[in-house]
């Protein structure tokens, strides 16, 4: 029993305030946009120079001058703004985003993140990942709690090439919500059906308790 990627995305979306400026990493994190709670409207930023863009257009209605960082077609909304790449990353590095939500290969209890490279093989590609982990007021990760092989993705120290040092503040996984505070994993929520011992066994560094641990909601989405 664990959360599906869609359910993880739903959980992460609950923490985004109305009017928050949000960057969602390419791929899985983009799902978060679908689950904004009623009455809230976040403003989404994409690295390639759009603030406040809307959903994908209907097939056949794409304008290829109007794409997001994943090179997928998007739309404009009332209040959209266009700008160049230096202004776009001024928003990122300058601390103007409220939250960036990214995927991960590994997250360390130090807040270190590895999400851009699985090693020296093949063609390396970094994109905006190293920029996004700096500057946003909150850098959150959404990820399965373990790898496909069952190994922990939450670890003491990353073994893969780092994207950033000490940058992640919260991790939403398929089993739990965990904050990173002072170099330690602090458990905030977990699936009621998963025991603390089991969760610890699936986690590569010590889970600390600090206040109550709430039940992680498994949304019907």
């Amino acid at each position: 029993m664990k959360l599906s990627p869609t359910q993880i995305a739903w959980r992460a979306a609950q923490d985004i305030a109305d009017g928050a400026y949000v960057n969602l990493g390419i791929g899985f994190p983009e799902l978060v946009a679908k689950f904004q709670p009623p009455g809230r409207q976040a403003i989404f930023h994409t690295e390639n120079g759009i603030l406040g863009f809307g959903e994908a257009p209907a097939p056949g209605q794409e304008d290829w001058d109007l794409i997001n960082a994943g090179k997928k077609a998007v739309t404009i909304r009332p209040g959209t703004a266009f700008f160049h790449h230096a202004d776009s990353f001024a928003m990122v590095r300058g601390g103007h985003l409220d939250v960036a939500i990214l995927g991960a290969y590994e997250v360390a209890e130090t807040g270190d993140l590895a999400n851009w490279s699985t090693g020296p093989k093949g063609v390396p590609a970094v994109g905006g990942a190293m920029d996004l982990v700096h500057g946003a007021k909150r850098v959150a990760v959404i990820t399965d709690h373990t790898t496909k092989e069952g190994r922990p993705k939450l670890v003491r120290r990353c073994t893969l090439p780092l994207t950033g040092v000490g940058c992640v503040t919260r991790v939403y996984t398929s089993l739990a919500v965990i904050d990173i505070v002072g170099g330690r994993f602090v458990l905030r929520e977990k699936l009621a059906s998963v025991g603390l011992g089991e969760l610890q066994s699936l986690t590569g560094a010590e889970l600390h308790l600090q206040g109550p641990v709430a039940d992680l909601i498994m949304a019907e989405v």
């Binding site: 403003i43 930023h45 209040g79 703004a81 001024a90 928003m91 990122v92 601390g95 103007h96 700096h134």
Partner: protein, 244 residues
């Protein structure tokens, strides 16, 4: 989300003692006269804010706007490039009497330091000022055989700017050369308040024409037909108005 503020008093309510305040404009163009005067009103009524560090290109002209802010005794330090004007008497007298601190910064370096503050760039190198008195104490580095000095970013607690159109999301346009430092200061302050000539509905500004995207703006207050410092000075105005 609605960043619209009901009035000028609300707009300047968050500016407190000891803060660094960036004020837009170059001379009178783009100077947020009404926001500045609202700040003076608050000081007159409450004694706060005071001991401000103000960042502006100039040091005010006559007895309105920034000059009036200085004259009211609210400014402890000024960071600017050119503290001279047609009528600089307020700053000049206070400075020569030792009543205000001055950090003189070359104009392009001032602009770049503010932009750097907004862009998360803590320091950069520039040729400007190398070998001059204004480079004293600054690290020097040679790149490709040419010497440069290192400058630090500038950030502020509050920016008070003047724009032309604004929407409730904070998107702004400017009017001609009233743009100047305003878009940069929007980026560099924790809290940016813009007075705009007109508030339009979201979408009322062409997405291509937005100069300051709303992410850089925390509050928008409408001031239709804003005053021009130049017109006020030609009319011999002072602020607060003195009894005749």
């Amino acid at each position: 989300m609605d960043k619209t503020l009901p009035d000028l008093a609300t707009a300047v309510a968050g500016t407190d003692d000891g803060m660094t305040v960036m004020i837009g404009g170059f001379g009178g163009a783009g100077a947020p006269i009404e926001l500045i005067h609202a700040l003076i009103d608050r000081f007159v009524a409450t004694g706060h804010p005071r001991d401000l560090t103000v960042v502006n290109n100039n040091a005010g002209n006559g007895h309105v706007g920034l000059a009036a802010l200085i004259e009211a005794g609210m400014v402890r330090k000024l960071i600017c490039s050119f503290p001279r004007s047609a009528d600089p008497v307020v700053f000049t007298q206070l400075y020569l009497a030792g009543g205000i601190e001055l950090e003189l910064v070359p104009q392009g370096t001032l602009a770049e330091r503010i932009r750097a503050g907004g862009a998360g760039i803590p320091a950069f190198y520039t040729p400007t000022g190398y070998g001059t008195d204004l480079a004293q104490g600054k690290p020097v580095e040679v790149f490709d055989g040419r010497p440069y000095i290192r400058e630090r970013w500038l950030r502020a607690d509050v920016a008070l700017v003047k724009a032309h159109l604004g929407d409730r999301l904070g998107n702004l346009t400017y009017r001609m050369a009233a743009r100047n430092f305003n878009p940069l200061m929007c980026m560099a302050a924790a809290r940016t308040i813009a007075q705009v000539g007109r508030i339009v509905a979201p979408g009322g500004i062409d997405p291509e024409a937005v100069v300051t995207p709303g992410i850089f703006v925390q509050g928008v207050v409408e001031v239709a037909n804003p005053q021009q410092e130049e017109d006020l000075n030609r009319a011999g105005a002072t602020y607060p108005e003195t009894a005749a």
